[in-house]
Subunit: 402 residues, 2 copies
């Protein structure tokens, strides 16, 4: 029994193939690469019931992950995050079922841990010693800490405006941290040039093929946690869009394995911020790719991505599942963040809050029906963005009584 059923890498644009035993970034044609598994072979060797009793981490799906030797797994205990029922919000939004998958309960407090755990593990397996990446915050924090866990050196460049806590996470990991007086695309340029100069491996979003595989485990877990049923709709806060690509890939692989029913794909919804909504614009215009969004800004910093390298894959996932793309104003998403805390006791991040605001809006618009069972992905802990909460409280003297 093999630990992984990975077979090769392929380009979804030009269909070129590559070996997973070598270091790979983009395809020659400039497209991100995807991982292919020998699913026919796996189907004969693994039943979904075999998962019962495995430890509650994303490595329970190791056959569907790219790391071929267990000793290369770099782990901080990531995966099997809670799938919570939100009964108060169901009434508030008037839909049958609202679930939240809480990705805050991961090492480093965000869903970025999934991509970095799998990405760093595979980097270790192919002999990479030094990585470099630009980041808006959470990804850099995750990759820096996992790189340290792997005994690898990391070079992280982030905009000077990125959330302060993520900067501290990178710093304490021992990474080589630089700030740039600019935005993520400026950081990306510095990484590209510096990586080329020093021979560092570029681990930028989708420039390495394995982050998607880590994010894919969100989709695997959702299906397993719902006892191999799928929700009607999954809403995902979309910046680079790796999560939506990964979830779509998970669903297709599970269908190929016969673990979920064929032809019953959940509708995938990309949720963006109003002032950074390139995918929404492309969706409205029925395009296959997005245009660069100039002067993008949003308080949901993690989805401030003006042009995603995998935009065509995100749009494909939306179109093929008969999904949707919707933009939420910062005002609305911050209001919803408060509401989710006050109604359900969950302090979620602004990006996650955008998906709840989207449920409200899509129900009001009639795109969601009362009978829909919807799932919101909260991609991180609220405490990583303390500045989104302006608290007030009376100060009492020592001898007071309320």
């Amino acid at each position: 029994m093999k630990y992984s059923y990975i077979d090769h890498l392929y380009c979804p644009k030009c269909e070129n193939t590559y070996s997973h035993e070598e270091k790979n970034n983009l395809c020659e044609c400039g497209s991100p690469l995807l991982v292919n598994y020998d699913l026919d072979d796996l189907k004969n060797n693994l039943k979904k019931e075999d998962l019962i009793g495995r430890a509650p981490t994303l490595w329970r799906y190791h056959e569907l992950l790219p790391v071929t030797k267990e000793e290369n797994v770099v782990s901080l205990g990531e995966g099997m995050t809670p799938l919570l029922h939100m009964p108060v919000l169901e009434k508030e939004y008037d839909v049958t079922t609202v679930w939240m998958k809480d990705e805050g309960l991961l090492p480093t407090g965000s869903f970025k841990a999934r991509g970095s755990a799998v990405g760093v593990s595979k980097a270790k397996e192919v002999g990479i010693k030094e990585i470099a990446m630009p980041t808006n915050g959470n990804a850099g924090a995750a990759w820096a800490l996992y790189a340290t866990r792997a005994g690898m050196k990391s070079h992280i460049i982030m905009p000077i405006d990125a959330p302060l806590i993520t900067r501290k996470e990178v710093y304490i990991s021992g990474a080589d941290l630089h700030l740039v007086d600019g935005v993520i695309s400026d950081a990306g340029k510095i990484v590209g040039q510096s990586a080329h100069k020093h021979g560092w491996f570029e681990a930028s979003t989708l420039k390495e093929p394995y982050r998607i595989e880590g994010k894919k485990t969100m989709g695997l877990e959702i299906c397993e946690q719902l006892n191999w049923e799928v929700p009607d709709v999954i809403l995902y806060p979309t910046g680079g869009g790796v999560g939506i690509i990964g979830i779509f890939k998970a669903l297709k692989e599970l269908m190929a394995l016969g673990w979920i029913e064929k032809g019953k794909l959940p509708k995938l919804v990309a949720v963006q911020a109003e002032e950074c909504a390139p995918i929404v614009k492309a969706f409205q215009e029925k395009k296959a790719a997005s245009d660069f969004w100039p002067d993008s800004k949003t308080k949901a910093f993690g989805i401030n991505v003006p042009k995603a390298l995998g935009d065509f894959l995100v749009l494909e996932a939306i179109y093929e599942t008969e999904g949707y793309a919707i933009a939420i104003s910062d005002e609305d998403l911050l209001k919803e963040q408060q509401l989710v805390a006050q109604k359900e006791g969950a302090f979620i991040c602004p990006e996650g809050a955008a998906t709840f605001a989207a449920v409200r809006k899509l129900k009001e618009q009639g795109w969601l029906k009362s009978e829909d069972r919807v799932l919101c992905l909260n991609t991180g802990m609220g405490i990583k963005y303390p500045e989104t909460v302006q608290e007030e409280a009376p100060i009492l003297p020592k001898d007071a009584t309320i």
Copy 2:
């Protein structure tokens, strides 16, 4: 098959008993109350193998928890936190095995979620609508958010110097938050008077009997995760000491059930801060209870507890397991926090870091042996205390190359 095997409450000091179907705080004699289960009955009805396949939350142990009806469970998905191997630190400290149980991966980012999940659930079961408590931060955040999840009102009083992020957590939950220009004992007095005046239920540490039961699940999980073996030593950052009391109770219950070997208790070590070390002082003087520690202070805010209500139970756990009590300076615990991040990629909290510093010190002193298998409890995420990390990073212009 019963959901819970709870039988009654009892006083460990005067042996008075109470019904778990009523609201209870302290015993008439002033001691905290403990929960008794019908373990003989449970032994006949549950095998440890029956746990396999249950969801990875602390509710997998529902037979050993006080909530009698599943519908009263208030959950944000808490439990089954990672038990990580720390291979680099093993060499650093020269001991055979170092594990870390990472309690940061819980709702609200700290181990306080365990006590509040179980405490709030049982409060709901006995009909409590409104709770009040003093807090140094993390407990208040957890109880406020879980109370909201339960549809309960909470009144939280915290010192003005408590960590800012925890204040924001309480605020966003919709709780009634007050700050006091004083320390936790001042907050406690205000809570006592105000709760009495308004008829609120006092949920202060050990003033209600169920927080221990939640914390007990740390001990249950450690044993299950180690395949029903126990470590040689467990180190726990000790403020109120509920965790160490809970772990000790878990071990005794598992022995009574025959799930772990009789007579092989791990040594329990209470780790405190040098400037707030009442348990350490009592241990050195071989006393059964501690004295109030005046002018206590430490950057590990969560263990700034000058006199714990359950001090005699903490000391009993240490004495009965042939454990130890040790104090760490703030300088040493902050240094160790950095080291754990830089060696293992885990950004832990200062309280958790104190346990690693304690391993180093106890090995140097010879109390720990090279062959010992030790387990450190990290009680929360490092990101909840961003002020403990002073980061520095060069700022680059947009067109730079490193």
